[in-house]
């Protein structure tokens, strides 16, 4: 009887897994069939066009890459700095406990809310307009909680015994952070950063909310340039009635997937490296 229940459970969980995998696989196959023939040099080096066969992803690709680079430049120092403060300097107080809860909550706020905040604050109040910098600031807000949480986790697992050893020999707090905590936490922090950025590169809603354009026939040349990004371009193509644009969308999705996959691969490699080191220390 027990064995039967056990077997039922295994079968059900396996079925759940297979269902999920099959759906994903079907989606992937569908996208590949539609898009793989469009994925060529012309597609990668052309601007959008009214004619689907002449349209390309260049503006969106360059836009996404610039956007992510800027976002990283803004969010990484802020996020890692906050994490270092919270883990190493902040005293345990009610205020800090409240901050903990808030950061956790912020990580779960829907991205459209960040988009609306970006629209009100960066686009309107700070009059940055629908520019690259507005987009990057908005995405930075979105991924800051993720970076802070991941970095704190990485800093927290640095063995206290090593920090004590450094303090006992006369290291200052900042020396302990720079020479012991940071090197040991770095791979974990990097993993968090890469995962956060791979989320940011796929975000569409907040960029649409701040009014990023969809038809851009030039490359962004400054922080205040209007811009487009890959998810927006894909969204735009999908909503066209012509079949041929859907093929473009599929090709764009393949490209975006490839980039995300690359990000995740790097994240996994750094994490494995991290585990090797921390296994040594404990």
């Amino acid at each position: 009887m027990h064995k039967f229940a056990d077997r039922m459970f295994i079968t059900l969980s396996l079925a759940a897994l297979m269902f999920t995998l099959l759906m994903l696989f079907a989606l992937l196959v569908d996208v590949f069939v539609d898009g793989v023939t469009r994925l060529n040099g012309q597609f990668l080096t052309s601007f959008p066009s009214r004619k689907p066969e002449e349209a390309g992803i260049l503006a969106a690709l360059v836009g996404s890459v610039s956007l992510i680079t800027l976002t990283a430049a803004i969010a990484v120092p802020l996020g890692v700095g906050s994490a270092v403060y919270l883990e190493q300097y902040a005293k345990r107080s009610r205020f800090n406990a409240l901050m903990d809860i808030n950061i956790g909550t912020l990580a779960g706020v829907p991205s459209i809310i960040y988009g609306l905040l970006g629209l009100a604050l960066f686009v309107r109040v700070l009059a940055l307009d629908r520019s690259l910098i507005s987009g990057a600031l908005t995405l930075s807000l979105l991924i800051l909680p993720i970076i802070i949480i991941a970095s704190r986790e990485a800093i927290r697992v640095v063995p206290t015994s090593l920090q004590d050893g450094a303090f006992a020999i006369g290291a200052t707090r900042s020396q302990v952070i720079r020479r012991i905590v940071f090197p040991l936490a770095l791979p974990g922090i990097l993993t968090g950063i890469i995962l956060a950025l791979s989320r940011a590169i796929g975000e569409t809603a907040p960029l649409i909310a701040i009014g990023a354009l969809t038809y851009i026939a030039f490359l962004p040349d400054s922080l205040s340039s209007p811009f487009t990004a890959m998810p927006i371009q894909i969204f735009n193509w999908v909503s066209r009635p012509q079949e041929a644009f859907h093929a473009n969308a599929a090709a764009g999705i393949i490209l975006l997937l490839a980039i995300t996959l690359l990000f995740n691969a790097v994240a996994i490699c750094t994490r494995n490296h991290f585990y090797k080191i921390s296994a040594h220390c404990s």
């Binding site: 015994s161 006992a168 040991l184």
Partner: protein, 251 residues
């Protein structure tokens, strides 16, 4: 006989927990003083007060005075960083840094901005020799410290502490995780080191305390029951409690 350390009426509180209750004791220069007593008697807390490592513990409150060479180290004018550079500390579990053997020993010097390569090399070699580790590691100074055995790692930690020429060496059960052979090497090492340096060692091991210490202090529930020369404490204790503990009747 001069005193390296003089502790007067020391109290330690963690929140409302009164961990150390009014201890007064002097530690003579260039001797080994063993702090003994059952778990939770305040030995480690006492040790961590001497180099102000307890400053790092939130909600720890320290009352009383600790004089190191005539200066109260809890005076606001004393910088705890400078103080710790004059007091080495060795922990229960070997805690080498995840660097090379060389970089471990050089750590204390480098954080004081000593970067001269020749100087660092000389000091690293000297420190490793003082810990009788040099011959075992001379060919692999640039390999990870984690490749050493537990006993070697602990001697490396002692070398790391010695490299900055401390006046006092504080050891918190340094042999607790080591086998008898490695323990013996550390004990021999401490005997040699006390000629130049004052040593305070917390230990659970009565035989060890008796073998290596010149003075011994017996702590019990945060109080100093008795202290004196090791002969007095182990052979002619004045208090019943001390006798029972050193004879292993409780622990």
């Amino acid at each position: 006989m001069t005193h390296a350390l003089e502790i007067r009426n020391l109290h330690i509180y963690y929140n409302s927990f009164h961990a150390v209750k009014g201890i007064s004791i002097t530690i003579p220069t260039n001797t080994i003083t063993a702090i003994i007593g059952p778990s939770g008697c305040g030995k480690s807390s006492f040790l961590r007060v001497i180099n102000r490592m307890n400053d790092l513990v939130p909600h720890a409150r320290i009352l009383g005075e600790v004089f190191f060479r005539g200066v109260n180290i809890y005076d606001p004018s004393v910088c705890e960083i400078d103080l710790r550079r004059r007091m080495g500390m060795v922990f229960q579990k070997p805690n080498p840094f995840p660097f090379s053997i060389f970089d471990n020993v050089a750590f204390g010097l480098r954080i004081q901005n000593r970067r001269d390569k020749v100087f660092l090399q000389e000091r690293v070699e000297e420190s490793l020799r003082r810990c009788a580790l040099w011959d075992e590691v001379r060919d692999r100074l640039h390999q990870s410290a984690y490749e050493l055995s537990g006993g070697q790692q602990q001697r490396l930690c002692i070398a790391r502490a010695l490299a900055v020429y401390p006046d006092v060496l504080l050891l918190d059960e340094p042999c607790a995780s080591l086998d008898p052979k490695a323990t013996k090497r550390i004990e021999e090492l401490l005997q040699k080191l006390k000629e130049e340096i004052t040593i305070v060692i917390v230990t659970h091991n009565m035989q060890q305390a008796r073998r290596i210490s010149d003075y011994a202090a017996f702590f019990h529930s945060g109080e100093l029951v008795e202290w004196g020369t090791s002969a007095e404490i182990f052979d002619y204790p004045k208090k019943q409690l001390t006798q029972e503990y050193t004879q292993g009747l409780f622990g």
